[in-house]
Symmetry: C2
């Protein structure tokens, strides 16, 4: 493959593959959106996250949170109450990732007009 020198400090292809794999698991729409919701509001319960991420199905929310928990991005705390209350919170690792993604959010905000224009031009050409 040949991973970029400026992002790899060691040229171990095994590590490169792991980075790719990690990116693949972390760079999906729902993870990004959930990450952002938790970064903003801090510890939150299941349904609150669902409300903060419009369009996500309950199934995908569960699945995304499980995966994030598995990757060490969030902690899951079950309070032994009735009705049950489950709270999710970003770990330090998750918080760091959220910060890393901030740049992407800002890029998107800054460039909405350019993107819309590019799309319009592309669609008109076709």
């Amino acid at each position: 493959m040949g991973k970029p020198p400026h992002t790899s400090y060691h040229s171990d292809p095994r590590v490169d593959a792991l980075v790719d794999e990690t990116i693949g698991r972390v760079a999906d729409k729902w993870t990004l959106l959930v990450l952002e919701a938790l970064e903003e509001a801090g510890e939150q319960r299941f349904s609150a996250i669902g409300r903060a991420v419009p369009g996500i199905s309950q199934k995908m929310l569960t699945q995304t949170l499980r995966q994030m928990e598995r990757e060490g991005l969030v902690t899951r705390t079950v309070h032994a109450e009735v009705p049950p209350r489950v709270e999710y919170r970003l770990t330090d690792l998750g918080h760091d990732l959220a910060e890393a993604f901030c740049g992407v959010w800002h890029w998107a905000e800054r460039n909405i007009e350019k993107i819309e224009a590019a799309r319009a031009a592309f669609d008109a050409r076709k």
Copy 2:
């Protein structure tokens, strides 16, 4: 929804939705990997990108490049030759996005061990 204050400078929900939509289109595995390949090697032809992104199918490469072209992230140059040569290059917009994603790459590199450990712990617990 209530998009984070620290990422939104205007609280226009229409803009927030657009940002979400844009993130959704741009934050997928293949776009990220292709972006990185182009950022590293500069202008490149179709097959070279394919080689630089191991695991991508030709279909996904074509599709990803089309979408990136539509979003204004890359330019596509067809050289009238036999055999045909098509070269892709990042636009300024694409380059900016690549830089924004650098933080995520570095995060992944820095934290491979933590992620692997978290996963092992999670799987052992289950």
